[in-house]
Symmetry: C2
Subunit: 291 residues, 2 copies
Amino acid sequence: MSNEERIAQYKNQLETYLREFYEKRSNLPQSRLFEAMQYSLMAGGKRLRPVLAMEFCRLCGGDWHQAVPFAAAVEMIHTYSLIHDDLPAMDNDDFRRGEPTNHRVYGEAMAILAGDALLTDAFMVAATAQLPDPKDMAFAIETLAECAGSMGMVGGQALDIASGERELTEQEVIDIQTRKTGALIHAACVLGAIAGGGSEEQIDAAARFAEGLGMAFQIRDDMLDVIGTQQELGKGIGTDETKNTFVRLYGLEACEELVQRYTGYALDALEVYSDTEFLSELAGSLTDRRV
Amino acid sequence: MSNEERIAQYKNQLETYLREFYEKRSNLPQSRLFEAMQYSLMAGGKRLRPVLAMEFCRLCGGDWHQAVPFAAAVEMIHTYSLIHDDLPAMDNDDFRRGEPTNHRVYGEAMAILAGDALLTDAFMVAATAQLPDPKDMAFAIETLAECAGSMGMVGGQALDIASGERELTEQEVIDIQTRKTGALIHAACVLGAIAGGGSEEQIDAAARFAEGLGMAFQIRDDMLDVIGTQQELGKGIGTDETKNTFVRLYGLEACEELVQRYTGYALDALEVYSDTEFLSELAGSLTDRRV
């Protein structure tokens, strides 16, 4: 199977799962809420985090289908974070992936609730995962919540907002970005490994891969914000320009090198696994991505 | 031990747990977020849901301390829902329990994030519960998320918002209120019973008690909105007056009878337990409460 076919297979499985989850509930009266949730959930995107979860499950020797609930949970959390980030009180963005943002279509109140519901439902979905050892469920839920909550993603977003227009130190930028972007990638890789029945060594390797990839991904994102075009990204360029990014800290050229270094760090972590060609190519394609 | 002493013991244990949870994390840089979260979390309140969780754990024969993580999780979810409900895009309330609402103190962006973080951290806390059978963790997490998410509390809030100023049918009001208020009371009682190692019969009885108490509690709440005073409730009166309430459907007198009937339904469910004096008195005091 080619890498493209594998990605298509993972994405297809994820999207079928998400569609069926809400179709089963289409007889409930709160249809407007479900519509708002699915508007953002089914808006496409790379589905990077779900792909990572399913692939780490496979690498640990599991049937990758077992990781689908975790993959879906992480994608639901990623989607809620985009909806809330776009709100008028936050980044106040009108477009996302070339389409009107959730609150532009459904209003601010419903967008807040759609985000809240996606975040909560994510844990409902995650709890349905069939684990080789059911006792691992507590570890998986704790990891997911720690990566997404005050210690992780939301913590990073709060640091970013609290910093305002102030010029940040290198450490402060790293504090923000590892939480905002890195934490959820960490959750995807580690939960995939848990679903696959991975050993402690394999789970640790998944975490280190995520750490490297998360940094490479974020630095590349900052670079694209400078060198990209509105059409390529499908969102307004420069909304982050007053923010503290790696490009502002190091400059474009050094960022290019850093992306290579962090990608290398991620690939080194894969040593404990065999059959890592897919992940290597995926990491490489993210490094070079234009969007 | 008197009932007042038991309530004080439960509340004290809960508040110590919540305080320590965030004190342990006070060295993290996102201190403003933690401050905003604790502002609402430690603002007092009846702590009804945590008390129910701990008491059902005890009634099922467990050590009630085992239910503290679940009790804390439910209270964190309750608190986040108040923060988000008060937002300008939602009810736009300036005061809560006599104090300025979260967004009035910390700004709208931080209030959204404080809510998001409390909701997420709730699952992190819940996952640390030590259950008689660790395999029950999946059931507990699924129940908590189902009660709080699109099928439960957020679903009720979305129905309420989508209905706008329209006059609702009896069924529509019940659809909204059982989700908005009843669902989280259900989660508290059922998770308490799970933490106590309750049998299927005991868990089912906890669910029926919650159903009756949830309805009685909400109808009483609607009544207080009409007969209360601003001072007694510590929030603006009449912000819900254009909304569809049980008082508008049935009138005050019939509501009084309904509160008694639903409370009776709740108490009947307790038959499978012994030593239910505390819960009976608690249910009675909620029925007669002035605030």
